[in-house]
Subunit: 476 residues, 2 copies
Amino acid sequence: MAKETQFVEQIADINADFPQWYTDVVLKTKLVDYGPVKGTMVIRPYGYAIWENIQKELDARFKQNGVQNAYFPLLIPMSYFTKEAEHVEGFAPEVAVVTHAGGEELSEPLAIRPTSETIIGTMMAKWVQSYRDLPLKVNQWCNVMRWEKTTRPFLRTSEFLWHEGHTAHVSDKEAEEFALTMLGVYQEFMENCLAIPVLTGRKTEKERFAGAVATYTMEAMMKDGKSLQSGTSHYMGQNFAKAFNLEYQGQEGGLQNAYTTSFGVSTRLIGAIIMTHGDERGLVLPPVVAPTQVVIVPIAARKGGVIEKCEELKAELEKAGVRVVLDATDNSPGWKFNEWEMKGVPVRIELGPRDIENGKMLCARRDTFEKIEMPLENAAESVKSLLAQVQGDLLSAARARRDSRIVYADDMQGILAGVEAGNFVKAGWCGCRACEDKIKEETAATARVFAEGETAEKCAVCGEKAEHVIVYARAY
Amino acid sequence: MAKETQFVEQIADINADFPQWYTDVVLKTKLVDYGPVKGTMVIRPYGYAIWENIQKELDARFKQNGVQNAYFPLLIPMSYFTKEAEHVEGFAPEVAVVTHAGGEELSEPLAIRPTSETIIGTMMAKWVQSYRDLPLKVNQWCNVMRWEKTTRPFLRTSEFLWHEGHTAHVSDKEAEEFALTMLGVYQEFMENCLAIPVLTGRKTEKERFAGAVATYTMEAMMKDGKSLQSGTSHYMGQNFAKAFNLEYQGQEGGLQNAYTTSFGVSTRLIGAIIMTHGDERGLVLPPVVAPTQVVIVPIAARKGGVIEKCEELKAELEKAGVRVVLDATDNSPGWKFNEWEMKGVPVRIELGPRDIENGKMLCARRDTFEKIEMPLENAAESVKSLLAQVQGDLLSAARARRDSRIVYADDMQGILAGVEAGNFVKAGWCGCRACEDKIKEETAATARVFAEGETAEKCAVCGEKAEHVIVYARAY
């Protein structure tokens, strides 16, 4: 029995030390490892398989929306960043710079892309001649680099993987609508694939993307009450089009600047999954993106027919499209239970001689620890339906947890108390930067997103008339 | 009628100026564009879609062979390259170097990976403790950078996309066998997916990968008779394991160095497709990887029912998994024929009022220009079978072409005459470096691959006893 708790003991207590719990989970489940260069990570096969499932789901959605994949160069001339004033301010401090190549010093230093608006703007300007070439919708799956002082695997690393969509349109209306369409795509994906509820809406001017007219965000609540910005969709107006001469011959003649958007999510989402669903035993993975959806653990595996029946069941599930592993190693069942629980596999099936005799299997849910006896007949159908149930229940549970932790405040004290208790706090805001800055200073919380449609009487900071309601939270 | 030839005129004559033809094709079919930094390329959606299909096919094969995807950092400490003596010599001159990041000079310069043996070796050394951890088989799909003086889209660019597989094994036998297994996977993929026949085998010491014990290559003949090294699989022995302390506790106790392999193919394969199958009208794409497999061109599109029938056919083909485009633009059918021929779409379907009346469609093959009338009934099945036929015929044609251009030579004059005429030339070799160097000097051909199993009497250069037969060719 001692063996059975060995993994539980290795992970820090989620309630006592959430950051250490996170670090333990990402390393011990082999999602990730530290790279040799400070701030870099190696995404190990178990973590990368989650990313592949995320990519598959999102990529299909992008293509349904007419977005085509492409690939743009990693290296961008430094001068490109200076063309859009806010953009250079936002990214210059984080850029990694190539100064030498092929044994020689370069005549112009090259930036490793922190994001690709500038180079994609340049290429689009070359490709777009007439209104007939619009809308132009491209996306790339790639690595980007932002030199960060403080890093944590998945959440903030100097290099990360992401996708970045970039579109150009004939009108402001079409472009802004498309930015919102992609926000909607993200939200649907977050809820249905990752089982993570998100608050969506506009960012304040202070928090928006460098060079954007409007940044739309989705904010997810982690189990420690902090917010994780999980993805953003930006409406750029004509800022980048003007900076990069992205002009087209309009239908009624005359050159016009296009309107552009960009939108992205990153490997950060793996961090969101961990901190939304994980528990004291480790990972809890939503079935849609879990590398392994079902693990079969043979009980009394040496008894005649047990392994054979497990293999038969595995083949049946695989045929039905279930990602399944049969753990036929020499470890004890208890040891295996802990191992696969730590790795967050949504459903465990125990199968022993008595089960086989009775034509049954015992299914254990990772999310609720509930054990359900099911007939072996039509196993694939029952298991698929159980996986769907787990997927739905994970979202409901996360939503209930999140909703129970959204509170209202009238003043700074209320905001501080709210975020200290691990809540999202809604409060009135006059709209001025000074009040926004003051909240950050005094509570370490930031304006995550506008609570559109909600109203408040006065600004929680200055007491003047409130123009907006803001969701404040501490954030990753 | 003038319009109908506009694309043909834009592409250089494939027989008169092959390099210009290539450049015209890659740019005008929008596969690729030049990036702003010298030697870089932008892979446009039509080119990237080919790469996605290549990835899908190869990735499934890697997974079948137990290889798991992962992701390793882009930046590698420069000191890593010095750990394996041949490796540093091979790659140091081509490396791009990051010296500044986050506004500061770095204490150690960082290389942008030209290949990842060094960093993956480092991580494997951390992960592998015992023989139970072996074999370890990982792969990554990523960008790499090699600063090249002379570049051409897809064939040689300073940045390119590739996959690199890396494995570690307990024995030399197992490792070398796995390197050969992956070579076999490549060959099957080349033939069945890209319809490109390849010569496979070992490279000479001069031509092998920096740090490898043996490099296995596949060499494909392009239409100009030059060879394109299309992929390589390397057996490293213990070279990298020793350099990076990749040791494991053996089954009988005692620390031992593992044996490693690596293997990769890149976006260069898109160049191979173009130069193997392309013709005077432009691209000819093998159906398995063609972004669009079928284009439907309505004839007399304004006549009642034509567009509707075309849409119906499109839906039927899509449902059957065919990648199909309906060109319902205002351009003339002749213009469309040229456009889609240039883009290399394997099958064109013409559908007009008379065809519909007769329950027929006219299918035109891109590869042979053959036109085949087929019943509209069971269209999906007929089209799929036609696509399979095109795929097979492309391989047969390429193989026949290649085989007719493999010649033998006894001396330097023969080798020179052979490669000047656009052939692969087989000739005896004594095995010494001086003779190999001399051939390169005097004929601009290099030893592409050993012709295993073949014998010759004397070395074509020095006249001494031949130890091997070598396939010589000029190469990309």
